[in-house]
Amino acid sequence: MNRVQAIFSKQNRALLAELVRTDFKLRYQGSFLGYAWSLLRPLMLFGILYVIFALVIKSGDGIPHFPLYLLLGIVLWTFFTDMTAQSLGSIVGRGDLIRKIRIPRWMIVFSSSISALINLGLNLIVVGVAMAIGRVGVMDTIVFFPLLLVEIYLFALGISLFLSAAFVKFRDLGFIWEVILQLGFYLTPILYAMTLIPHRFQKIQLLNPMAQAMQDSRYALVSHDPRVITISRVFDDGWYRLIPFVVVLLVLLGGLAYFKSQANSFAENI
């Protein structure tokens, strides 16, 4: 209990607020449109992918509200890549602070995760607007959406903790992670309907927490159409559908444990 209190102590909250504030102020420093880029970047990416995958290739397989399906996928994936990629270099990037000031190490990773969360929040507003424009009715399954966001966040946090700590010693990780993200972009059903994938592979694909959470989010927000394949549908409610959650838990605990084991020597190793 004391440790939890220490984590949310007054100083730590002040430091977190200040780090996030600075990060935000600096991110769009000197750019003409400033904060608007937080929204414009995913919107433009969405525009490009929409034209290619919804209009030209038609990878939606007739899923209702496919543009929204696509947008939600892009927003969630952008959050995942933003958070992990930013966190990866966060400890090394703040090496100057770590070598000269005693601040809680995890705070640095945490603050970059909060920055990514704020961006996610802004992007979800866009999703909301798109739902209104596309006249997509709000379904009662929307209550599960926040839980799915928590799942994605914890998964990304576990990975971020591991990556940021490991990057201190293994600088190759930056390149490796870039490749893995690129691979993940295609393995996760972001751009296409899962009905295009053979049933056998659907099972494997949905064991990835990102794929599972993304499909469940689409089920919760976009459509209950049977072509929106979720893990429950694939495994017919068998216990296998719990595997992604176990993966999230293991990744989070593993990331925390590794980060903790390394944190004391960051200052020496950077």
């Binding site: 007054k10 100083q11 909250r13 002040a14 430091l15 607020a17 200040e18 780090l19 600075t22 102020k25 600096l26 420093q29 100057d96 602070l97 770590i98 070598r99 000269k100 000031i101 005693r102 601040i103 004391n264 020597s265 200052a267 020496e268």
Partner: protein, 385 residues
């Protein structure tokens, strides 16, 4: 335990330095075949160091470059963890290993003050209480809404230093901070140090400047090659430090030991009582030298050196035809010297110069500030015709 601010108990620190480095794929593969472990060299930077800092103490840490004092400091600050031993800290500790850590050139002065404060563990509210004081001390009221990148380097340093010394904390660690700012700002800082001392603020000062150690510290330690070589009075710590730096001066060990048998201090400046650590060019000081009684003492010498060891002036009673009687002597000296730091050697000799009885390498140190614009080491008597 209640009066102890920091307790350092048998602390050692070893760094692992990886053997660099496989630049070829072949090398990397060979290494992988050996089990993938990189080979390390262990370097012990601190060996079994123990000491205590009491609450309200102005504590000095002295040592040459590479002696391990910075590592020690970083461990006190909680940045490094000791390999062996433990460090206990009572109270809120604020370290200034470097000034202006986390300062961002793209933010305004005001934003930087709050950011720096948060990094040091102060909430926005606490910082707003101190804000005014910090800005006033730095004399930057008009510039706080400008971006830091538009500040001169002097202004940045002033702001950073003001945060360092205006912060409300139990324990303050200052590393080499005296070397900042112009002459006037430095004097201002010295005044603040006097104030700290009066208020019984606990301070750990790490410095090369023996003048400030002697002037401010209640106690000091000397670290050399990872060992704690001395704990005690700042005077002797300064002495020890000089020995480490100028070993040739102390070729014969008895001379070093004899340092404590002869002492000197400034007791008058321009005819008024003063300890005069800060003097103006042209001031006349009166030094009083005292030594342990010794019937063989015939000759007392006084010599002035610049901080870098340049011999400025020296004479002795024999040369000046003064007879030494008793074990005390006053010596008046007009300091026509340029701005800078100086120290004074005092020696007590027998019949000949080679017969050293007592000798103090740094009996007194002082600092000269200059009021008029001439340049050089000394103000020679001159006239324009």
């Amino acid at each position: 335990m209640d009066d102890v601010a920091i307790k350092v108990d048998r602390v050692s620190k070893t760094f692992k330095l990886p053997h660099e480095k496989q630049t070829s794929i072949k090398g990397a593969l060979i290494n992988l075949a050996r089990g993938g472990r990189r080979s390390y060299e262990r370097q012990q930077v601190l060996k079994d160091v123990s000491f205590e800092i009491k609450k309200g103490e102005f504590f000095g840490i002295v040592g040459r470059n590479g002696s391990g004092k910075s590592t020690l400091l970083k461990m006190l600050a909680g940045i490094y963890t000791p390999t062996k031993g433990s460090i206990q800290v009572n109270g809120k500790l604020t370290p200034f290993i470097e000034l202006g850590v986390g300062f961002n050139p793209e933010l305004t002065g005001r934003e930087n003050v709050f950011l720096n404060g948060a990094l040091l563990g102060f909430s926005r509210k606490e910082m707003s209480h101190m804000y005014h004081d910090i800005v006033a001390f730095a004399e930057l009221e008009k510039f706080m809404d400008q971006k830091l990148k538009n500040y001169s380097s002097g202004m940045q340093v002033r702001l950073a230093f003001s945060i360092a010394i205006r912060v409300n904390t139990d324990l303050l660690i200052l590393d080499e901070v005296l070397a900042v700012g112009d002459e006037r700002f430095q004097d201002k800082c010295l005044t603040v140090f006097e104030d700290f001392k009066k208020r019984k603020q606990t301070i750990v000062l790490v410095t090369h400047d023996m003048n400030s150690v002697k002037r401010f510290c209640d106690r000091a330690i000397v670290v050399d090659e990872g060992n704690l070589v001395y704990t005690g009075t700042p005077q002797e710590a300064a002495q020890k430090y000089s020995e480490l730096n100028f070993p040739q001066v102390f070729e014969d060990e008895t001379a070093a030991q004899d340092a404590q048998h002869v002492r000197a201090r400034i007791h008058q400046v321009n005819g008024k009582q003063s300890s005069g650590a800060l003097l103006k060019s042209g001031d006349t000081v009166r030094l009083r030298a005292k030594w342990d009684h010794n019937p063989a003492a015939r000759n007392v010498g006084v010599a002035v050196f610049t901080e870098s060891g340049q011999y400025v002036f020296g004479t002795n009673t024999l040369v000046d035809g003064v007879k030494v009687a008793g074990n005390e002597l006053d010596y008046e000296l007009k300091l026509n010297l340029g701005a800078g730091n100086y120290y004074v050697q005092v020696g007590v000799f027998g019949e000949s110069d080679s017969e050293k009885i007592y000798f103090s390498h740094r009996a007194v140190s002082f600092k000269i500030v200059q009021s008029s614009g001439w340049q050089g080491l000394t103000n020679l008597e001159h006239a324009w015709k």
